[in-house]
Every structure is written in C-alpha cells, then in structure tokens.
C-alpha cells in the first residue's frame, strides 16, 4: 500500500470520527418515551428512596421511562447553569428553593405547568413557585430549622428543657450554664451565615430589605442586636472559627458526640442523629420580639425546551404529590412532602425520634420570608456571610461589618 493512500485513509478516518460527533440520535416512535430527571435531593442517602418512587411511576405509566441523574448538592447549581447555557437541560430538574426559581422563571427556562391540581399542595409553598398566577414549578418537599437539644446535658446541668415560649434571653442563660469549656462541652451552636441572619432579623422585629426591596434595611439598632445574637455566641457558648466552627459537619458531629447542648439546624439531620447515643429532642427556635422560622423548600420544574413536556409534567406531579412519594418520604424521614392533606402528614408525628415532631409543623406556621433579589442573590448572600464572619472573628466590630455589608448590598441592588 502506498503512502498517499495511507494518508488519505487516515484523513478520512479522522473526518469520520469528527462527523459522528455531530450526528444526532434518531427519535424513536411508538415505543416508551424516555424523559431525563436531574436531581440533587436524593443525593447522600436517599437514592434508593427515589428509585422506589421512579419504579412506582414507571409501573403506573408503562409508556414513560425516567432516566435519573443524581448530583451532589454543592455542584448541582453549577451543573444546571451549564446545562441551561448549553441548551441541554434535563426534561425535569430540581430547583433549589424559591430564590433559585425566581431567576430561572424570569429567564424563561421553565415551561408553564397547566392543569395542576392545586388543592393537593400546601398553598403557601405552591404559590412560591408561581409567577403572575401561572405555575412554573411544583414544591417537592419542605423542611425547617429547629432547636435541637441534648436532654442528658440539660439534666446534668439542672437546666429546664427549651419550650416554645423561650426567647433569646432564655437561650443565652441556659447556654451559659451548659457550657463547660474544661470538659469540652459547649452550650450552643448557631451558624453565622446569611441564612440565619435574615431569619433572626425577623425574630427581632427587623427586616433584611426595605418594603420595596430596593435597599438594605438591616443596619438599624434592631439589626445590630440580631447580628450580635449570632456573633457573640462565638467563644463564649459556641466554639470559635479557630476551633473548627463553620466547617462541614462540625456542629452535627459535636452534637452527636454529646459535646453540644443546643444546636440550630434543619430537620434534614434527623436520620443522621437516629443512632446518636444521647437523648435528644427538638423545640421551635426561640424568637426575640416574635417567633419566625426559616423554611426551605425544593421545587421541580419542566424545561421549556423539553421534547416531551406532557410526560415530563406527569413525572413532576408524581414526584411532588403522589401517595407513593408521600409514604416513602414519611417512612424514611426524607424531609416533608409539600402536600395539604393534614391526615397524611399526621403519621409523621409518631415515626420515632425526636418525640416533639409537632415542633416541625409549628415552626412552619411562622415563616421568615427569605429575601429574593434575582441574579445577584449569591453575591448578596456571600457579602452578608463574609462580613458577619469578620465580626465573629473580631476583625471588625458588628457596626463596621453591617456598614460594609449595607454598602455592598445597596450596590448590588442598584444594579
């Protein structure tokens, strides 16, 4: 074989390889339709529970197959952004709460969901995924933040258990009595982050943004008091950053080890604490001027570019409202389904530890609304958390930190 021929064959081979990359798959006709579902909610322990729901859906709808792609929570947002930018999103995908829903809806990446049976859902949660009276996503679950406490440590220190009447002052007094630095036991833990700050502002009768949402409203005496409530625990009743506070799983591990008396965190750690040796229970978080709680929900949406919108919506509805989903979630303690039927939810109350599961529902009745400002949401959250940590570490006074945060956030709001 001569060299010319070899070169030609080589070139043809490369060209063929390049072309196959561009060829698109042929659409199948007649057979079952496959829709893709990209999620983060099952990652880290609930993959099997999701598989159970998918199997039930496929059994009920033999003409639809669901191809599940599960991503870790941390990288899910980036992956979804990239898929949307490239025009290759999954038919159905998770939405990380109403503050993520806002920009997605505004930028037209979500298909409108028509004919949804709205009576099935918790109205407030359903409405947080609607715009101008049109539904663009459905809530799949909700969770809230409560106060966990270690009964053994409370008993040993002779302190009364937290009740729903507690205020910040009660918590501070109890935390001081429970802290025993020599024994490595801490009284309290509450993250110094944006997600806590917007909530404690409401607990203190203040708010994060002005009513028209155009300016920061937290740099007031009440706002400073709220920031101090978070910051001042550090080093007195809560471990410092240098001790490792603020790193992943630090607080939950401390609580599990029986070295932490009170912990502010979400109900999503129930299952992680199931095998904790200590006796523990939960209570609604103490407020100051009023009770207010952080409620988080996850949503599910259908891509505006989906080739099978009807089938995709069917799956989105099944994943957010079906009895199979409700039972799987309640049995496994995988957050709470965002449904309206109180009877179905009631079984949640006697699913074991913690005893006071009623607190989960009580907390959800008084919600501190999360500020939502669109494209600059992450930048705003970073600015607040960054400045609060400066104050926590003592590098800035609380007043300086809030001055800086206010300046940064007003700049973001101005565009």
């Amino acid at each position: 074989m001569n060299r010319k021929l070899m070169v030609a064959i080589g070139l043809a081979g490369v060209a063929a390889l390049a072309m196959t990359g561009c060829a698109s798959g042929t659409p199948s006709s007649g057979g079952p339709v496959t829709i893709t579902y990209s999620n983060f909610i099952s990652n880290g322990g609930n993959e099997k529970n999701l598989a159970t729901i998918v199997a039930a859906f496929e059994k009920k709808n033999p003409d639809i197959k669901v191809d599940v792609k599960t991503l870790p929570y941390d990288s899910y947002g980036t992956a979804l952004q990239t898929d949307l930018a490239a025009g290759t999103p999954a038919d159905v995908f998770d939405i990380n709460g109403p503050s993520s829903y806002g920009p997605y809806q505004a930028n037209g990446v979500l298909a409108e969901l028509k004919g949804v049976d709205s009576g099935v859902y918790n109205t407030a949660l359903l409405d947080s995924y609607a715009t101008d009276g049109k539904q663009y996503a459905l809530p799949t679950s909700f969770s809230d933040v409560v106060l966990y406490y270690n009964k053994d440590l409370f008993d040993a220190a002779g302190v009364k258990y937290p009740t729903s009447d507690w205020t910040w002052a009660d918590e501070t007094a109890a935390a001081a009595k429970l802290t025993d630095k020599a024994a490595g036991v801490w009284g309290d833990h509450q993250p110094v982050t944006y997600n806590e700050y917007y909530k404690v502002l409401v607990q203190n009768g203040a708010s994060f943004l002005t009513k028209d949402g155009k300016k920061a409203a937290f740099n007031t005496p009440a706002g400073i008091e709220a920031a101090k409530w978070l910051v001042d625990k550090s080093g007195t009743t809560m471990p410092t950053i240098a001790d490792g506070q603020g790193t992943a799983d630090f607080d939950t591990n401390l609580f599990k080890d029986g070295k932490l008396a009170m912990l502010h965190t979400g109900i999503w750690v129930f299952s992680a604490f199931a095998d904790a040796p200590a006796n523990w229970d939960i209570a609604v978080e103490p407020g100051n001027k009023t009770s207010a709680n952080a409620v988080f929900s996850n949503g599910i949406g259908v891509s505006a570019t989906s080739k099978h919108p009807a089938q995709a919506q069917k799956w989105a509805e099944f994943m957010s409202a079906s009895d199979t989903m409700v039972n799987v979630r309640l049995d496994s303690g995988w957050e709470l389904p965002a449904i309206s039927d109180a009877k179905k939810l009631a079984t949640y109350l006697d699913k074991g530890k913690p005893t006071n599961r009623q607190a989960v529902f009580d907390a959800a009745k008084k919600i501190a609304a999360a500020p939502s400002i669109g494209d600059n949401q992450s930048a705003m959250q970073d600015a607040i958390t960054g400045e609060l940590i400066e104050a926590q570490a003592g590098r800035e006074s609380v007043q300086q930190a809030l001055d800086n945060a206010e300046k940064k956030i007003n700049a973001l709001l101005a565009g």
């Binding site: 001569n2 060299r3 010319k4 070169v7 080589g10 070139l11 490369v14 390049a18 947002g77 980036t78 952004q81 990239t82 949307l84 930018a85 920009p103 997605y104 505004a106 930028n107 037209g108 990446v109 410092t240 950053i241 240098a242 001790d243 490792g244 494209d375 600059n376 992450s378 930048a379 970073d382 960054g386 400045e387 940590i389 400066e390 570490a393 590098r395």
Partner: protein, 319 residues
C-alpha cells in the same frame, strides 16, 4: 513517475520547501500539496483538540466578553462595557494583587526548595531513587486530596502545625481562617506539592552538566559554593528558565488549591483571578465579565512570557 519515486521525493525533498523558493512547475506544485497534506495528517491529532478545546473556546470567550450574559437569557451586546466595568471595579485590582502575592511567595520557595532537593539527590546518596519517588508523589496526587490534608495540618486549634508550634511556646496563627494567613497557607501547600516537579526538571538539568566542568573547577581551586555559582547555576540556566516560565504561567492560573482550601475567603482575602472568573460565571451569573477577565488575564500572561523570552539572552546559557 513511479510510485517509489514519489515516495522518495516526498521524504527527501520536502524540507527544501521550507528553505528555498519553490520551483514553479506542475510536478513540484503537486508535491507541495502532497507534502502539506502529510504535514496536516501528522498535525491533526494535536491540532484538532487544540482547535476544539483551546482556540475555539478562546474565540467564543472573546465574543461572550462583549456581551452581558447570565447563562440563562440570550446575550445582550455591551461592546467593551464589561472591560470598562472590570477596570473600574476595585475587586479586579484585588484579585490580580492576590495572584501576584501568590506568585511572589510561591516561586522562590518552590525554586530554592526544588534546587536544594535536586542537588541533594544528585549525589551518590543511598536510596536516592526511593527518595526521588517520594518527593514526586505529591505531584501526581489530586489537588483536592492535598488541599484537604493541608487544611487539617494547618487547622488553627487541632492541626499538627500549630500543636508543634505550641510545643515551642509559639502561638500559631489562624492559617486559612485568617485573612492575613490564608494566602501564605495556600503558598505553603502549593510549594510542597510542586516541589517534586521542579526537582525532577532541575535534576535532569544537573545531570546534563558534564563532570569535567567540575573537575576543571576543582583543579582551579573552586570550593563547593564557588562551583555552585560559577558552574552549576549558569549551566542549569536553561532548566531554570523553563521552570520560571512554566511556574509563572501556572501561577497566574492558580485555582484548584484556592478553590479547595479557602474558596477565595475569608471574606475575599485569597480571591485570585481564576477563582473570580469561576465565581462570576457560575455563582453570580456574570459570564460576560468573567470572559473579559479571562482575556485580561491572557494578555497579562502573554506579556509576562514575552518579556521573559526576550530577557533570556541576558542570563540563560545554552552550552
């Protein structure tokens, strides 16, 4: 023209086209085309990825940099607006400053450390192959793993480093949790990881130095330091030049260790250029500005590299 003739001419005469003017007759033009095709075929395996994954994205980024784009909605033309916005934003200066800080701390540390190791392991030391392998191990380890290990080592309260310092009565700093120590923490971890790579390059350079040079120097009465500065370092300069160019380019592009160790924090104290590009794109939905920043970084790296290549005549000795 027989087939075998064509083959010989292809191989033997091809290089002439580079140096001499092509003769204008049909046969040669034919050869020229054939030669070009051959070159192309051999270049394809590296040219195709280069085109698809480097040049293509660069051109695309140039286009994106002239638009406002949140990755979701269609792009909006803003011309040079993104560049103007970046130049007017104090954060841009900060991230370049942090990057230069990284390079200034990292480069001497890794070069002197790598040179010391290379010199030590270039002797008839027992078990030197084993040691060379050990020092190279971090180079092939994933940055995520290394970053987590260093976060542990430099943990303010429970880390080994501060425990060791406490043993000598020194109160260790807050390392990556402290804005003043975040960048030094990253520099130390980076120098540790890259030491083996620099060592291998310099070791190869050392072994290329003929031993009679040293013999001659010894005869002339030169001691160890004299030989280092008058023989080793000048003759090692091509390797040093390579290390410098590569390290500077990598230094400007520093990202993995920052992302994994501090995420640019605390409160932006270790935010470097590429971390800012990442944040702008994927966290803040400002892909246009991120692309503009990428191009600004490219221009800076290009300028620095050109200056180095121009300047090498002054100090690089090619034996």
């Amino acid at each position: 023209m027989s087939v075998s003739n064509a083959q010989t001419s292809l191989v033997d005469r091809a290089p002439q086209f580079v140096h001499s003017k092509p003769v204008r007759d049909g046969r040669t033009r034919n050869n020229k085309v054939r030669y070009a095709l051959t070159v192309l075929a051999f270049l394809l395996p590296s040219a195709v990825p280069l085109l698809l994954f480097v040049l293509g994205p660069m051109v695309a980024a140039a286009w994106v940099s002239l638009n406002q784009w949140n990755l979701l909605a269609p792009m909006k033309w803003v011309g040079l607006g993104n560049y103007a916005k970046l130049l007017g934003d104090p954060i841009t200066g900060d991230v370049f400053l942090h990057t230069v800080y990284y390079i200034v701390g990292y480069l001497p540390l890794v070069y002197i450390g790598g040179l010391a190791l290379a010199l030590a392991l270039n002797t008839a030391l027992k078990g030197r192959s084993f040691l060379r392998g050990i020092y190279f191990l971090p180079v092939v380890t994933s940055w995520i793993v290394v970053a987590l290990v260093w976060r542990w080592l430099l943990s303010p309260s429970n880390g080994i480093v501060n425990s060791a310092l406490a043993f000598f009565g020194i109160h260790g700093p807050g390392w990556w949790t402290d804005p003043h120590w975040a960048m030094p923490s990253i520099i130390i971890a980076s120098a540790w990881k890259d030491l083996g790579f620099i060592m291998v390059i310099l070791l190869a350079g050392l072994q290329a130095i003929p031993s009679d040079m040293y013999d001659a120097a010894k005869v002339d009465g030169a001691g160890w330091w004299r030989r280092l500065f008058s023989v080793t370092l000048p003759l090692l300069s091509p390797s040093s030049f390579f290390v410098l160019v590569i390290s500077l380019i990598n230094g400007f592009q520093v990202f993995d260790q920052v992302y994994a160790m501090t995420g640019g924090g605390p409160n932006g104290a270790s935010e470097v250029v590429v971390q800012q590009i990442y944040d702008l794109t994927f966290r803040y939905g400002r892909a246009g500005e991120a692309s503009a920043l990428s191009w600004m970084l490219f221009v800076v790296v290009l300028a620095v590299t050109v200056i180095q290549i121009r300047g090498q005549k002054r100090w690089v000795t090619y034996a």
